[in-house]
Each structure stands twice: as structure tokens, then as C-alpha cells.
Amino acid sequence: MTRYLLSRTAQALLVLLGAYTIAYLILYLLPGDPLAILLNAAGRDIDALSPAEIAEARRFYGLDGTPLERYFELLWNALHGDFGFSASKNAPVAQLILERLPQTLALGGLAVAFSIVEGVGFGYLAASVRSPVLARFLARLPAFGVSLPSFWLGLLLIHLFAFTLGWLPAAGNDGFRSLILPAFTLSLYSAAIYAQLLIRGLEAASREPFIVTAYAKGLTRGEVQFRHAFRNAALPIVTLVGLQIGNTFSGAVLIETVFTRTGVGRLAEEAVLRQDIPVVLAVVTLSAAGFVFINLLVDLLYPILDPRIDHASKG
């Protein structure tokens, strides 16, 4: 098990390094002079500077040296928690992210919780109904949830719950109440996918021989469904939750704008728009790290959830 853990962690680090490298390549080697962009964000014009000043500015922003040297320097700094300085935000990138991260973590966390409750709840319900017509109808419904654009859904929910019913605030970062609508909006896509997966899983499980055995033992329909079919069908959802967490955080980019929240998603969106390279690089690295960590956690959870899976034997 230790060996598996070590190899899996090494893999995770490799993925992280890959994500960082690709982000660096895309951002720094894009056409256009990163120095001109950085200077512009700081309110200066590269054309107005003398060659000596340009060289000085290049050193100041860490843009001197070859791209490879810069890459290693940035990586070294990032490993020490120094993600550079955002010229247009007038703040160190690490500070910006630390300020914004709690908002996005709360939103993402609640959205994941919502999506599990909604997705599993709905999937379970849909597989439990006896009427074949209703069951088919319910089984088709998640496809609708997958195809709803989240910004549109967000605006719709704002109109219903904030402007028409007045139950929840439409926007802002003011506490738990302001988190419910954005988290729900963000959760629906993942929830629909979990529901689809669970409905299919339960359907497949219901044809398995052990289900027949369970019925033969005299268990009720509810008991068979929950104890035998559900436990088997739910396992793939765990994998998917790990993957969906990544989507949830990228979805935060849209949701945070619609709901006027200040999180990492909006920080990333604005940083991309003004080509604030240090911020984009830090956000990409951070989300990649989160993604890798969650998926590592999911992998390690498997043997606990399903004793038949044993990582040690593979290693």
C-alpha cells in the first residue's frame, strides 16, 4: 500500500508539473510582448521608455534571461509560495489568491455537496418508481439538466428566488444565504451527470444474479435496492465526483460573474482578459493542484468503499 501511495503521489506531482509547464508555454510564448502587456497594466507605455529603462523593467518583472531560465526561476519561486506580483491589481499574487480562495472553496464545496445530494437523490428516486412511464420520464430528465447553460439557469433562478419570491439575495458575498443560489446553479450540471450514471448503474445491477438471490432471501424491494444494488452502482460516482470537482471550479468563472461574487474564478477571468500572466499561471497551478489532490484522494478511497479493490496487489 505504501508503495502504491508513493507511486501515485509521484504521478500526481508529475501531472502538476505538466499542467504548470503547459500553462507557462501557452502564456509566455504567445505572440505579443509580455513586457508591453505588463507595463500597460501598470499604466506605462513601452514606446515611451528608453532601452535602458526597458532592460530595467524586464529585470523588474523577471522577464530577462532565456525562456528556459525564466521557466525554472518561476517554478523555483512558485515552489516557495512566491507567485509574483500583479501589476494591475497592485498586490502580490499569493495575497490575491488567499483573499479570494475561501469564497470559491465555499461555493465549490457547497456545489459539490448539492450535486451529490441532488444527483444521487434523484437517480435513486427515478430508479425506485414502479410506473414504467414515470420511470422513463424521470430517467430522461437529467439530460435536460446537463444541457442547461449555467449562466442562463443562474439568471432564471435569480429572477425566481431573488426578484419574484424575495427569499434569497441575488448577488454578493454576504454569507450563507448568498451562497445557496450560485451553489445550486453550479451543482445542477454535475448532479444531472451523477443521476444519469446512477440510473444506468441501478438498472444494470437489477439484472445481476445477486439481486435475484437477494429477492430470493426474502428481502423487500427497498432493502434490495439500497443494500445491494445501490452500493454497487454508486462506486463509479465516486470517480466522477473527483473529475467533476475540476468542472465545478471552472464553472465558478461564470457563476461568480453572474452572482457578483469575488472568488478565484472571477479573478482568473479578469486576469485572462487583461493578460495578467502571473495571476493566470498561479490560478492554473492552484486548480491543477486541487484537481490532482482530489483525484488522488478518490483513488485512495476506493479500497475503503469496495474491499474487492486492493491497490497493493497491483503494485
Binding site: G32, G43, G109, L110, V117, W167, N173, F176
Partner: protein, 555 residues
């Protein structure tokens, strides 16, 4: 759907939060309780303003660096200037300086300061403080030559303190716009303490002024809070209420999503709705239905103009094509369609509220037939696809846009299609825009600046003065044969000390831009706010900002 909805509603009503939800959301409770602790107190006299998103490019409240007009509205109520500009006449009137004399050469100004004025930290406003402010701005400019305040401080050399209440500002060369500059937020006088802090700290809110409100907090992208300054009493004559503000607090929120912003307003969660773009006819109808009033003012400075890239090899280097383009734009239907029936139709290069504005209405008449004739004569013939071609090449113009298009951009595209010109919209993020402008890879770009003096034209179009970002575009506006003449007019406007001379110089400059079709006005930059029925006393300043000390809000 009904079942689903009932399901959701029930879910929320019960607040059916599972243990997991509670655990995961513990983080937000911390943030929440902190938010709710503040602000509960004096609801009755708190005014809530909703603006569009905060400046995405530059986080700064430092008056000397700020170009973002929403920030300038706020600053106008926190920091004050030597002079004020009368919103009705555009004349410069006393404020922190009760009188002044202009030197015979137009290169020095002797200001006599009003006595008894203090900054909100208790420091007195005296000649030393004014000198500190001007010198600090000059020092900042030395480190950051592209800063917004550069054009306002143009020519400032040094200040001589004559006695505690008299100061002479000496310019190294005449600058006719300087007196107006002393009335702007850009050259506002901050307390000496503010200049002991770094420019970065000032950007993040270390702003101490003499105004009727004090900046209590600023959270970039979220909002800011102003509180009433006790003992205030030195407003300029342009302001109705000369004493302390009627409001206790002002809460400003940045709300990027228009429908959310509008919804909050109609629900009464916002008292003043103040987006960047004018309202649509439909919005106005909804707001008025809720008892709201709409206040409008054209922002002084250039109108919303498109400027051509006339560099050799680009299609708009051809004067005939520029003329045809000018004739192809239907400005009346632009104002009516995109905005509303009573929206003013743009009449010239400048907005009508700018001093020395000259109407060029006749020259900007819509004349699609005339445009077609010009194009026909120049050899651009209509192809099967209704676009014009010459030597097998389609007549196509590249219009670079900041991030996204508006309804107006699409309408313009449609208007040009009618005469056979293809307008390609190219959406660029700010970083790409800088690259595109410096490389000259565009045909049309929109630039503007808000300032209550025609000198604003120089800041936009004169490459010697244009700020960072638009300098490259300014270089591409004038063909080599017209550039020197334009430069001469810019200089004449800058050094003229008599009103008549300025009127002549800027009148000729406006003519030059329209006669040579080097500016394509699209619409008057009208700023609109919607005010709930509870708000009264709202008044615009000359530069299209607002004095909030006269505003009252009934509970």
C-alpha cells in the same frame, strides 16, 4: 416542471441542509458574520449606489492615476480641487481657492486659498499642502510617464509658497487647459499624509481629502463605503448644499451583471442605479413604472467616435473612402434604435456639454446614395453578394473592439452593409488590443476620455500627449499631410490664453477632423442614472459626476 419547482421550493423552505453541507460551508459563515456585523445601524440615511464592474485593468483610487469615471464620481465627494467648473456654463469658479490671477504669459497662476479648510485627518489646507500635492504628482509622473494625470499636469514646473494662503503655480510653458485641470478630481489636493504613503497604498484607498465624505473602506471588485465628514462647510457655489452632507453613509457596490443590477434596483435594494452604458427604452419603461426618475448628462470630452487607421496600405488611407464611410452612418437611427426616442443625436467630434463644442450636424448627415456614388466613382463596384469589390478585393474594414460588441456595433455593421462595405468586428482582450494597435492591424477603433475641456481631444489624438494604450492608435489617425496642421491647432489651443483664441483653435480642430473624415462620431456619450422615488437632490457636476452632499434619501 411544476413538480420540479415545488420540489426545489420545498427544499429551500426546509433549508434541508445535510451534515455534509454544513461542514463544507462552515467557511462562509465566518465571512458572513463579519459582513453582517457592519452596516446595520443607520439604514435610514444610507444611500446605496450600484455601478458596473470595478476597473478590471487598474486597481486604483489614486485621483492622479484614475481614469475610471465611476471612481471619479466617488472621488469628487471625498477630495476637492482648487477650482470648480460650473455645470451650467462650463466656467471655472472658486472652490478651495477663493480667487486667482493668471500671469501675463499664461504660464503662472497665483491662487489665494480659502481659509479654515481642513482635511479629514485634521491637517489644514494651506499653501504648503497644495505645494506638496502638486510636487507629489510631478514626482509620480517621473516614475510613471504614462499615468492618466500627465495631460492635466502638463507644463507644471514648481510651486512658490508666498504665505500660508497664497501660492503661485509656475508652468514651464503655457497650458491653457491648466485652470480647468485644477478643477478636476485628477489634480485634487490630498492631505500631506496621503503623499507620505506609497502610490500603491493610495491606489488601495489611502486617500484623505477635504470633501463632504470620507472614504471609509474600499474593497476592489466588491465596493466601497463613504461616511459623512463632520464639520464640512466649504462647497463651491455650484453645489446647493454648502454644509455637511444630508446622508450619513454611502454604500457603493460593483455589480457586473446588468439584469441582476436592474433587478436589485426594481426591488428597492439599490437607490441609485448607475451603469456605464445608457439604458434601453425597455429598461426606462420598467424603472419609470416603479416610480423611478432618470437623470442624464452628456459626458464632456470627445463623443463616442471611431478613429481610422490611415497608415499607408490600409483602406482608410483613401480620403474618398473615409468620406463615403462618414456618409454611410445613420446617427439618428443609431440613437433611436440602440438607446431611446429622446436620446440626443451626436452632432460633432465633441459631446455637446464640452466647452467650445462646435456642431458639425450638416457634415454628418446620413447620405447612403452619396456614399454609393463616391464608392462607385472610386472603382468599388457591387458584387453579387452586395459587397463592393475592386480588383477582385472586397471592401472590408476591421473594427477592433474591447472584448465584446454592443447592439450599436451590430447596427453599424448593418448600416455599412447597405452601402456595400463589410465591417468585420474583431473582439480583443486588452492585452491583444495593445498589440493590435501598436502593430496597426486594424481600420477603426473607438477611444474616448471624459474631461470638461476640449483639451481632452489632445489627450486622445495627439501622440505627444495620448496616454498609455491609445498612443499607438493616435499615431495612426492623421495622414502625413494633415498631421502638422493638426499639431499646430493642438498647440494653439494649448497656449491660447484668451477664450476667443481657444474657441478659434478648437473650432478649427473640430472642422479639420470632420472635413478630412478622421473621426466618425457614433453617439453622444450620455451618462444615465436611475433614481428611486426616495432620492432627491441629485445634481451633476460639469464633468458628468455628481455632488452627493446635496442628495437626500427618505426612509
Amino acid at each position: 416542471m411544476k413538480v420540479l419547482r415545488r420540489c426545489f421550493i420545498r427544499m429551500f423552505r426546509r433549508r434541508a441542509a445535510s451534515a455534509t453541507i454544513v461542514a463544507l460551508s462552515a467557511l462562509t459563515f465566518v465571512a458572513a458574520s463579519r459582513e453582517q456585523a457592519s452596516g446595520a445601524g443607520s439604514r435610514a440615511t444610507t444611500l446605496r449606489i450600484a455601478f458596473n464592474a470595478d476597473n478590471p485593468l487598474l486597481t486604483s483610487l489614486d485621483p492622479f492615476q484614475v481614469y475610471w469615471i465611476e471612481h471619479r464620481v466617488v472621488l469628487r465627494n471625498v477630495v476637492e480641487s482648487l477650482t470648480d467648473q460650473d455645470p451650467a456654463t462650463g466656467k471655472i469658479i472658486p472652490w478651495l481657492a477663493e480667487s486667482w490671477e493668471t500671469g501675463a504669459d499664461g504660464a503662472s497662476y497665483l491662487f489665494k486659498l480659502r481659509e479654515g479648510v481642513t482635511f479629514s485627518n485634521g491637517e489644514p489646507l494651506d499653501a504648503e499642502a497644495v505645494k506638496t500635492a502638486f510636487d507629489a504628482d510631478k514626482a509620480f509622473l517621473a516614475t510613471s510617464p504614462g499615468a492618466f494625470g500627465a495631460a492635466f499636469l502638463e507644463g507644471y514646473d514648481h510651486a512658490e509658497v508666498i504665505d500660508p494662503h497664497r501660492i503661485r503655480i509656475v508652468l514651464s510653458k503655457p497650458n491653457a487647459g491648466f485652470l480647468q485641470a485644477t478643477s478636476t478630481t485628477t489634480l485634487a489636493i490630498l492631505a500631506p499624509e496621503s503623499y507620505k504613503r506609497s502610490a500603491k497604498e493610495r491606489s488601495l484607498g489611502a486617500i484623505i481629502g477635504t470633501g463632504p465624505f470620507v472614504l471609509a473602506s474600499y474593497t476592489p471588485d466588491v465596493g466601497l463605503e463613504l461616511v459623512r465628514r463632520k464639520g464640512y462647510g466649504w462647497a463651491s457655489h455650484a453645489v446647493d448644499n454648502g454644509g455637511e452632507a444630508y446622508l450619513d453613509r454611502i454604500e457603493v457596490r460593483y455589480v457586473p451583471e446588468a439584469s441582476v443590477r436592474n433587478g436589485q434596483f426594481t426591488l428597492g435594494e439599490t437607490d441609485i442605479l448607475w451603469p456605464r452604458d445608457p439604458f434601453s427604452e425597455a429598461d426606462i419603461r420598467v424603472f419609470k413604472g416603479k416610480g423611478a426618475a432618470i437623470a442624464s448628462r452628456s459626458l464632456p470630452g470627445p463623443a463616442y467616435n471611431l478613429y481610422p487607421n490611415v497608415a499607408a496600405g490600409r483602406p482608410l488611407a483613401d480620403p474618398g473612402l473615409r468620406k463615403a464611410l462618414q456618409k454611410s452612418i445613420d446617427r439618428t437611427s443609431y440613437a433611436r434604435t440602440v438607446y431611446s426616442d429622446d436620446f440626443p443625436v451626436v452632432q460633432g467630434v465633441l459631446d455637446a456639454t464640452t466647452p467650445y463644442f462646435k456642431s458639425e450636424k450638416e457634415k454628418l448627415a446620413y447620405d447612403p446614395e452619396g456614399a454609393a456614388r463616391l464608392l462607385e466613382a472610386a472603382g468599388w463596384t457591387l458584387g453579387k453578394d452586395r459587397y463592393r469589390y475592386k480588383n477582385g478585393k472586397r471592401l472590408s474594414l476591421l473594427y477592433v473592439l474591447w472584448t465584446k460588441e454592443t447592439a450599436g456595433d451590430l447596427l453599424l455593421q448593418d448600416q455599412l452593409r447597405k452601402v456595400g462595405i463589410e465591417l468585420k468586428l474583431s473582439f480583443l482582450v486588452p492585452g491583444e488590443m495593445i498589440t493590435a494597435l501598436s502593430a496597426g492591424k486594424y481600420d477603426l477603433v473607438a477611444l474616448y476620455l471624459t474631461r470638461g475641456d476640449p483639451i481632452a481631444l489632445q489627450s486622445v489624438l495627439d501622440p505627444r500627449f495620448a496616454p498609455t494604450g491609445s498612443r499607438a492608435a493616435a499615431r495612426n489617425v492623421f495622414p502625413p499631410e494633415i498631421g502638422p496642421a493638426a499639431e499646430k491647432l493642438f498647440d494653439a489651443g494649448l497656449v491660447a490664453t484668451r477664450g476667443d483664441d481657444r474657441a478659434r483653435a478648437y473650432g478649427e480642430l473640430q472642422d479639420l477632423l470632420i472635413d478630412n473624415n478622421l473621426a466618425f462620431p457614433l453617439f453622444e456619450r450620455v451618462w444615465q442614472t436611475a433614481l428611486t422615488g426616495k432620492v432627491s437632490g441629485f445634481a451633476w457636476t460639469a464633468e458628468g459626476f455628481a455632488t452627493l452632499s446635496s442628495v437626500r434619501r427618505t426612509p
